[in-house]
């Protein structure tokens, strides 16, 4: 079949034209390079936008406040950490079982401490704390103070705070090893109202505290006077506490701390407010008080305290010791006229603790290696404790028969106590304490006899966060 020339031309055109068009549509090297550059730019733009978004997110995170809830409590904190408010709490439910029937104290349970604690920081420098206490069926403001931390070596506190004297008193209620604080704490002031200057110097190896306060009774707080001082007499307080080996490489030396505290005031009591203490056993039985009644014994003059103290912690082992001496001028209207004298009262304690489960002992805080969990088969932490303590009142307090400052038939002149205990830390925030305390006395019973020994089993469930 012959194909005419026209047909051949048409056929050729039909084949060649598309090929030419295809060649014309094929991208040139320049086109490809342009497209590549456009793609590169698009990728760079995406990367930059991601970078800017990450920067914006990081900036937003810096200015966002933080709400935290942990074993240390609940807090609301500004992004820079300079402003925060924390809600913490302490709840102590105690039980007492008297083994010795001779002692007239009932077995009982009580809520000893029920303290919501509000504390915080403003401006990164000013700390505040407010602690009401609803335990023992009363309402007391335990702490209400502001501290300006102007430098590590200088902070000023104003308000109601723990007077810087007793070592065990200064230990937090959640950290003390026994249910009842020891006899030296009965001679040291508890909370008081005034000003305090304190700081750490010498590379944090020495802490100093100077306070100027209303002046609380031995073992007492200012709420004994409804938190309002009724005299113009004030108390001067000073304390030094050293950790000379805090930075030492020696494991055995690092945990040693020791110091001394002292107070001075002049107080004159009245029949309504004698300004004199009473002393109680670990089971909370009163074993000494000054005479009351129509001619009570009153504080009348100077009161000085001296309290050397130490602690030592190494690994699982802890040891705390303190000695406190109070020298108190007293007077009483006696049958022979006004009697005055200076009564010296001394107390000391040595308390040891040992973590059976390997935790590290310390003065402040504890962290169990595990929590009690039936599911996980873990038991928390166990700690053995032992303590020996004595308190002795000057014989001068009992001299003078009916004119004595204290009744020897009702008040013991010496109490000696030993206690052993087991602390079970179910978690960072919950512990159960079991103490056995035995206290014996010299004097304190009719005819100059010794008051009956006291044996008690004390228990506490403690929640703290």
């Amino acid at each position: 079949m012959r194909i005419c020339r026209f047909g051949q031309s048409l056929l050729a055109a039909a084949v060649i034209a598309p090929l030419s068009m295809a060649q014309a549509q094929q991208p040139t090297i320049v086109d490809l390079l342009q497209r590549l550059e456009q793609q590169e730019q698009a990728i760079k733009v995406l990367e930059r936008k991601l970078e800017l978004k990450e920067e914006a997110d990081a900036t937003a995170a810096k200015s966002a406040g933080q709400v935290k809830a942990s074993e240390r409590g609940f807090s609301l904190q500004s992004a820079d950490g300079k402003n925060q408010i924390k809600l913490r709490g302490v709840l102590h439910v105690d039980g007492r079982h008297m083994i010795s029937d001779e002692v007239d104290l009932p077995d009982s349970f009580q809520v000893t401490r029920a303290r919501p604690i509000v504390e915080g920081t403003v401006g990164g420098i000013y700390d505040f704390r407010f602690t009401p206490d609803f335990g023992q069926d009363r309402t007391v403001i335990q702490d209400a103070y502001v501290t300006g931390r102007f430098a590590p070596s200088f902070a000023v506190t104003a308000g109601k705070f723990k007077s810087p004297v007793g070592l065990e008193r200064l230990q937090s209620a959640t950290d003390i090893r026994f249910i009842a604080r020891a006899f030296p704490t009965s001679l040291a002031p508890n909370r008081d109202i005034g000003f305090k200057f304190e700081g750490n110097v010498l590379d944090d190896r020495l802490n100093y505290a100077l306070a100027f306060v209303n002046g609380s009774n031995d073992g007492g707080s200012s709420e004994a006077f409804a938190d309002v001082d009724v005299t113009s007499d004030k108390e001067y307080v000073a304390r030094l506490f050293a950790h000379p080996f805090a930075a030492s490489d020696s494991f055995g030396l690092r945990g040693l701390g020791f110091g001394v505290a002292g107070t001075y005031t002049e107080h004159t009591g009245t029949a309504a407010l004698p300004f004199l203490p009473a002393f109680r056993t670990p089971a909370q039985a009163t074993f000494f008080r000054y005479r009351g009644g129509t001619t009570p014994t009153l504080a009348d003059g100077e009161r000085t305290r001296l309290a050397p103290q130490f602690y030592y912690y190494a690994g699982r082992f802890g040891l705390l010791g303190e000695y406190t001496e109070v020298s108190q001028d007293v007077s009483r209207v006696a049958t022979t006229g006004l009697r005055s004298d200076t009564i010296d009262t001394t107390a000391w304690q040595l308390a040891a603790s040992f973590f059976l489960t390997g935790e590290e002992a310390s003065y402040r805080g504890y962290k169990p290696n595990s929590s009690f969990s039936v599911e996980n088969g873990t038991w928390g932490a166990f700690e053995l404790t032992a303590r020996y303590q004595e308190l002795e009142i000057d014989d001068l307090a009992f001299a003078g028969g009916a004119d004595s400052f204290a009744d020897p038939d009702a008040s013991a002149r010496k109490a000696t106590s030993y206690g052993i205990g087991l602390n079970w830390y179910l978690s960072q925030n919950l512990k159960w304490v079991l103490n056995y305390e035995r206290t014996s006395f010299e004097g304190g019973a009719a005819g100059g006899a010794d008051r009956d020994d006291e044996e008690a089993v004390l228990t506490r469930v403690a929640v703290g966060f």
Binding site: D233, K234, E266, T268
Partner: protein, 335 residues
């Protein structure tokens, strides 16, 4: 009952506390919250001022700096950043400290010479070496395929100057009016692939990340890009029309009075007008106010036809019309 004399021991304790606190009071600090591109300027200026302050008063001084988009910085000060002085990109941002923060008096701008602007600047283009996209003037920025880098006028003071300079060019074209200018601005921002929050961010985007064909930039920032990246990689193109930018400075009275730094802050800003400071300003490619220093550096700064903010009715009007919520920028730009 005998009153015990406790006032003397209390006085002694107070004196002791004052003595312990005294060293902490001696050292002074100042916080200068500034806009984005002034980092290098204030690094040199602060060193010079601190030196002369020490020589004059014997007191050591540390000046802390904060930099960011001018609008953002103003917001941060209003929200509580304790700036002793604010050195921002435009007067409106300092006015915001007055109206929204009540941090300084309304007459702040009259407290220092030249409306509290110790230097001026303007807006130019930076392009790749050889100017491959043939950018000569504002009109070239809206051509298809041209990628423009400029910051976000909602946060950046420099971006607002850029925007107004572009708007001024559009108004100056034959038949130019608000409608044509807004249409031009709309096309311009369609060519902007990334909106940084501040001028320094845009510099990073263009110069270091290599994004875009042209950056609309503070004049001083343009020179900085050439100095740092190299004149073999970038070049400056001067548009036919631009805007006279007058970045102002002010003491933030409420903060300075509370911190006890009012005198120091005032001295810090007054020194910006000194010969030494004006030299530093010129060296960092800002146009100095001092006539002698300006004459010395005249050859560095190109001559450009400049509009001013007064041509837009002032900052309050310009902010409301263009950059406020629901303003022109909100209408023409969507991310």
């Amino acid at each position: 009952m005998t009153r015990s004399n406790w006032t003397r021991p209390l006085a002694a304790l107070l004196l002791l506390s004052a003595a312990l606190a005294a060293p902490a009071i001696q050292a002074q600090t100042l916080l200068n919250v500034s806009y984005d591109p002034t980092r290098e300027l204030y690094e040199d200026y602060n060193a010079a001022f601190a030196k002369q302050w020490k020589a004059k008063t014997g007191k050591a001084l540390t000046v802390k700096q904060s930099h960011g988009g001018s609008g953002k910085q103003a917001r941060t000060i209003i929200d509580g950043l304790p700036a002793d002085v604010a050195t921002l990109a435009l007067g409106y941002d300092i006015d915001a400290l007055v109206t929204q923060g009540k941090l300084l008096p309304a007459n702040w701008q009259s407290r220092l010479p030249h409306n509290s602007s110790p230097y001026t600047s303007t807006v130019v283009f930076v392009v790749r070496k050889g100017n491959p996209k043939k950018i000569k003037d504002w009109g070239d920025l809206v051509k298809p395929g041209v990628s423009v880098i400029t910051p976000n006028p909602k946060t950046s003071g420099g971006a607002r100057w850029n925007y107004l300079a572009a708007y001024a060019w559009a108004l100056a074209q034959p038949g130019g009016n608000d409608a044509t200018a807004q249409a031009f601005i709309g096309k311009l921002y369609k060519n902007v692939p990334v909106l940084d929050t501040g001028a320094r961010g845009s510099t990073t985007t263009f110069a270091q990340r290599g994004i875009g064909d042209v950056a609309i930039s503070w004049e001083n920032e343009a020179f900085l890009m050439l100095d740092e990246l190299g004149r073999d990689k970038l070049e400056i193109v001067v548009p036919s029309i631009s805007i006279l930018a007058e970045p102002p400075v002010a003491v933030v009275d409420k903060v300075a009075l509370r911190r006890g730094t009012a005198d120091l802050a005032r001295a810090y800003l007054e020194y910006l007008y000194s010969k030494e400071a004006q030299e530093i300003i010129a060296k960092h490619h800002y146009r100095p106010r001092d006539s002698e220093v300006a004459a010395k550096y005249a050859s560095v700064f190109p001559k450009i036809k400049l509009v001013t903010i007064a041509d837009f009715g002032g900052w309050a009007k310009a902010q409301k019309q263009h950059f406020g919520d629901g303003g022109v920028f909100d209408k023409i730009y969507s991310p």
